[in-house]
């Protein structure tokens, strides 16, 4: 009996032909999935390769320039500690303890708030802020405390010796403790300060726009060049790596002939329209009003004018100088368009009827006949509808922001064959570039684009998040140490300034203005 049981058990254990067929029946289907996945992947890769070969784009990702922070410590004088001055100081590695408190609280409330850890990770540039100047007492004191916060700590942390606060910028520039100055003042002070600093051989980082008036622009360039100082204009977009890729695409003529470029500004909040908050400590006694006025026409003391100076031509350059310049400089960086032959602006004060003199809606058309190119700038401060930079070529169209997307044009000559064979599809990008992503591929999804536009793709993984302002300052400091030329040097700045002035002058004179390239003058 036991023997029989055993035999039965053995029989059960025995694998029959039926077992094998039923047991492995689904194996071929699993094989089909794996084979199918491989085929599909292979097809996409081959397609990518075909397009990539056709375009000839490199797969090089820009890297942060090697650290040059060795050598002599550079002593910086900071002029202006308003909104932008604070951001620049942060880019240099100096933040007021109270702001760090805010970041720390932010991190506690929300783990995704990485402002403080990002700041700690920011490279030490081996510099020292030895002098500060702000004509508003509260900002002046804050600038000192920020400059002394070498250890990047919150309130109660260790501060190094507070630098001297100068009441007049001239004394700061003249100080033997200052090697280089950062100018983050209202526009009407950029010229006089740059000229004075260059004359005494101090290196200059000047916020954009380069100048407030046409006349001072020539002298600024002359003094910067004549005195051999390192000048960098504050267009931090020069560090946006997508622009480098865009330039490569243009150089490789992927877009074909480009006849129209459209750049835009869309903002829709008081802050974006320069209606900045007025500090509670501000009054006639805490602000040096006479120094604020400078070369501007005299006006009675006004807190609005002091804090919201961008709203008046007396101190500002309006949309043209403040926001067009960023767009223009990006296009000039990518396409080397130079100063336009003519400019024609229209617009008005249509939304912010708050006493300002600069328009809140502006459209300017710049002509570059030598390059067979028109550039349209259109701006509004009362709609946030997002429009990127659009570079329109006969063969393809490029949308540019922090990312690049290139679509083939249905009427393209160069890609007609590939479009016919369905290798390229007009509604599918033929090239996309997302900074920080490992792979640069030609076939991509709308979702990826959505995330990239919001800066989500290159924030967390592996790669570091870099602040473009920091990189732009770093480039300037590296050039001071090693004697190179910064990317937004005085020649680039000159082109930026003249282009912006042409836009403004056309608006003010209600007529087209022209550029005389030989004499380097604007003809109204």
């Amino acid at each position: 009996m036991d023997e029989k049981k055993k035999q039965n058990k053995n029989k059960d254990k025995k694998i029959t032909r039926r077992d094998v067929i039923k047991g492995l029946a689904t194996l071929p289907i699993a094989g089909a999935v794996v084979y199918g996945a491989y085929k599909k992947r292979h097809y996409e890769k081959a397609l990518n390769r075909t397009i990539a070969d056709e375009l000839g784009m490199s797969h090089i990702q820009p890297e942060v320039a090697p650290v040059k922070s060795g050598g002599k410590e550079i002593r910086i004088g900071l002029i202006g500690f308003g909104i932008r001055g604070k951001q620049l100081a942060k880019g240099l590695g100096f933040v007021h303890p109270a702001e760090i408190d805010e970041w720390l609280a932010g991190t506690q409330a929300n783990k995704n708030d990485t402002r403080y850890s990002d700041f700690l990770a920011q490279e030490d540039l081996n510099i020292k802020i030895t002098a500060v100047c702000d004509i508003f007492d509260t900002y002046g004191q804050m600038a000192r405390e920020a400059a002394a916060n070498v250890h990047r700590q919150g309130t109660g942390g260790k501060l190094e010796e507070l630098p001297e606060r100068y009441l007049n910028y001239r004394e700061l520039i003249a100080s033997p403790d200052v090697d280089a100055v950062i100018i983050a003042t209202p526009d009407h002070w950029h010229g006089p300060m740059t000229i004075e600093a260059a004359r005494v051989g101090k290196h200059i980082y000047c916020e954009k726009p380069m100048s407030w008036s046409v006349e001072e622009t020539y002298e600024m360039r002359k003094e910067v060049k004549g005195n051999n100082v390192v000048f960098q204009l504050g267009h931090q977009g020069r560090q946006t790596d997508a622009y480098g890729k865009a330039r490569e695409a243009l150089e490789k003529e992927i877009l074909g002939p480009v006849n129209l470029v459209e750049v835009t500004t869309n903002r829709n909040d008081p802050n974006g329209a320069w209606v900045y908050p007025i500090h509670e400590d501000a009054n006639r006694n805490t602000i040096d009003w006479e120094q604020f006025i400078g070369q501007a026409p005299w006006h009675e003391f006004s807190l609005e004018r002091f804090f919201r100076w961008r709203c008046w031509w007396d101190y500002s350059t309006g949309l043209s100088g403040d926001l067009l310049t960023h767009e223009y400089d990006a296009v000039n960086q990518i396409m080397r368009i130079g100063i336009p032959k003519s400019a024609m602006s229209t617009g008005g004060i249509y939304f912010y009827k708050d006493g300002r003199t600069v328009p809140d809606v502006l459209t300017t058309v710049f002509e570059f006949p030598d390059k067979d190119l028109s550039m349209v700038y259109s701006a509004t401060l009362s709609s946030q509808m997002s429009r990127g930079k659009r570079i329109m070529g006969h063969d393809a169209y490029m949308e540019l922001g922090n990312t690049i997307t290139i679509y083939p044009d249905p009427g393209s000559t160069r890609y007609a064959d590939k479009i016919g064979k369905n290798i390229l599809k007009p509604d599918v990008p033929m090239y996309s570039y997302f900074p920080g992503k490992k792979d640069v591929d030609a076939v991509t999804s709308a979702t990826e684009l959505y995330f990239a536009d919001r800066g989500l793709l290159y924030t967390y993984r592996g790669g570091k998040r870099m602040d473009t302002t920091h990189l732009h300052l770093k480039e300037w400091i590296d050039c001071i140490r090693s004697g190179g030329t910064p990317s937004c040097d005085v020649d680039q700045a000159f082109e930026e300034a003249m282009t912006a002035h042409m836009g403004t002058l056309s608006y003010l004179h209600k007529k087209q203005v022209r550029w005389n390239a030989e004499k380097e003058t604007i003809l109204i």
Binding site: I15, D19, T26, I29, V33, R41
Partner: protein, 161 residues
Amino acid sequence: MNLKNKNYSGNQLVWLVILRIAIGWHFLYEGLVKVLDPGWSSIGYLLDSQGFLSSFFHSMAANPEVLSTVDFLNQWGLVLIGLGLMLGALTRWAAYAGMLLMAFYYVSHPPFIGITYILPTEGNYLLVDKVLIEFCALGVLSIFPTGRYVGLDRFLFKRKQ
């Protein structure tokens, strides 16, 4: 027909196996796509999370080490669950694991009133979405396993039979 003894009728067995293969195919392919794409990451999906557990999923995305673990578990989990269902190997465990994964997907992107997502972009749902249906289907497969009839479980569980 005696379901208690898992003696399915011919038609029942055919459809249960088809369902198992279909879900297995879906998992396996989703997994392979991710494994084969070196640039793939779950970061976008995690950051898109909304609803009552969104902060948990966001924190996964924020931490690079956690993120790479999540990526690894997700892509290989999909592959192994897919293979399990497809080949009928450890079928019941594959179904449970698949349900767990679906539950994560569901709570990270609950289709509640007033919530809209970037991902996925297809379809409109109210409480019941495709993830939930796949979860339910896996529930069915875990109760009616077929690996011992058609699949490798025939060998794996031979002794017990």
